[in-house]
Symmetry: C2
Subunit: 229 residues, 2 copies
């Protein structure tokens, strides 16, 4: 049983949408576990018994193809949930999950309906909402992979990390470049060269440290998409 009194549900979109009753009902049956970097949380093809929520650290969703190659599908920070649809329907999950840092993960049984009024409706709507977001995320990735090249995808990723500010910006990549390369659909060597090309646009990187001189310059790159000459 998970001590939900110490959990800040405000940082978890999926739990925020529930009424306090239903939320506590779910949380009272929650399990929580810590994982070391590199540990596997679950594997594609397994029946999803629970919905998972990243409470701390980062989790990577990925798939392994027949020939053994790995495709990173998403990197989830604390607060993000996954396997919602599969867990609600007790279906097979189509993705595997692995800890890419020390992390803590909560396992929620959403398929066993609790006794609260409106539990079914509330959980359904929260899951629908999360599924909708994840679907849009996948759509966005397919769009990027079919239209943009590696430098453009890296640019968009950096912009998503650097907020709405202007001028200079220092940031630390939330995970290793090997993982980022997988996420962007390229090899580490190619990512390294993509960073190299961005030097001309005021981006310096040393390991996981990244400095952007002018965010506006990067935004222009992303928007126009044709300034790479």
């Amino acid at each position: 049983m998970f001590d939900f009194n110490h959990t800040d549900t405000r940082a978890v979109p999926l739990l925020e949408q529930l009424s306090p009753e239903v939320r506590q009902c779910l949380l009272s049956k929650a399990r929580c576990r810590s994982f070391a970097r590199g540990e596997t949380l679950c594997l594609q093809g397994e029946t999803a018994e629970t919905l998972k929520i990243v409470m701390d650290g980062w989790v990577k969703l990925y798939r392994v193809s027949e020939n053994g190659s790995e495709a990173v599908l998403a990197t989830l920070p604390a607060g993000q949930s996954f396997d919602e649809l599969a867990a609600l329907r007790r279906g097979r999950s189509s993705v595997s999950a692995e800890a890419i840092s020390e992390c803590r993960v909560m396992f929620l049984d959403v398929a066993t309906i609790c006794g609260c009024d409106n539990a079914y409706r509330e959980i359904n709507e929260a899951v629908l909402s999360a599924a909708s977001d994840h679907f849009d995320g996948m759509v966005h990735q397919v769009e990027q992979l079919k239209i943009s090249n590696g430098v453009e995808r890296l640019t968009d990723f950096l912009l998503s990390l650097s907020g709405n500010g202007r001028g200079g910006c220092d940031l630390v990549l939330p995970f290793e470049k090997v993982v980022l390369a997988g996420m962007l659909g390229m090899k580490p060597e190619s990512l390294s060269r993509a960073f190299g090309k961005l030097k001309a646009f005021g981006v310096k990187s040393h390991n996981r440290q990244v400095r952007i001189e002018k965010i506006e310059e990067l935004r222009a790159l992303s928007g126009q998409g044709s300034a790479f000459c």
Copy 2:
């Protein structure tokens, strides 16, 4: 009002899952419209008022990026539905849809709950099921785009069209090669050259006609992925 007596719901997965009562309740309020090739059904960003079902012909789901490029996300045959999640939540749809052949499309209001018992539950579960399938489809595409090259993606597409048989196989592409190129994430010229490379593996194509000499040979290509020398 749509004449549902003339509609074979057995061919529509989403409708099959509903009880006759709820199905007829939904269908009694359905609208149906025909579209000419090239006509737009709906645009990304619009609030989805209805769930759509392709009754006849083919529909293309796509997104247009900021710089004007188009990415094809899916090509839907008769029986397939789309915009389910957005319609149920009356949210904004993240994709645009266009007829890629003469086609007939049904528009279903799934957000306005009908009076039947279990209507909410049934519709929810049908939508969840469809959403789950679509999510898996997008996951599969991201995986393919990140791992495989154009020839491999074309191979998998051809195999998906050619069933479980053995030996030779004749088939007709269900839509134009321009659309197929977009779906596979490449330019028409590259698709043409991908077909060219498959000639060495017993695949001949002339316009939309395709002949596969040995399906087994293609399957080996897809499975191993390393026989392209």
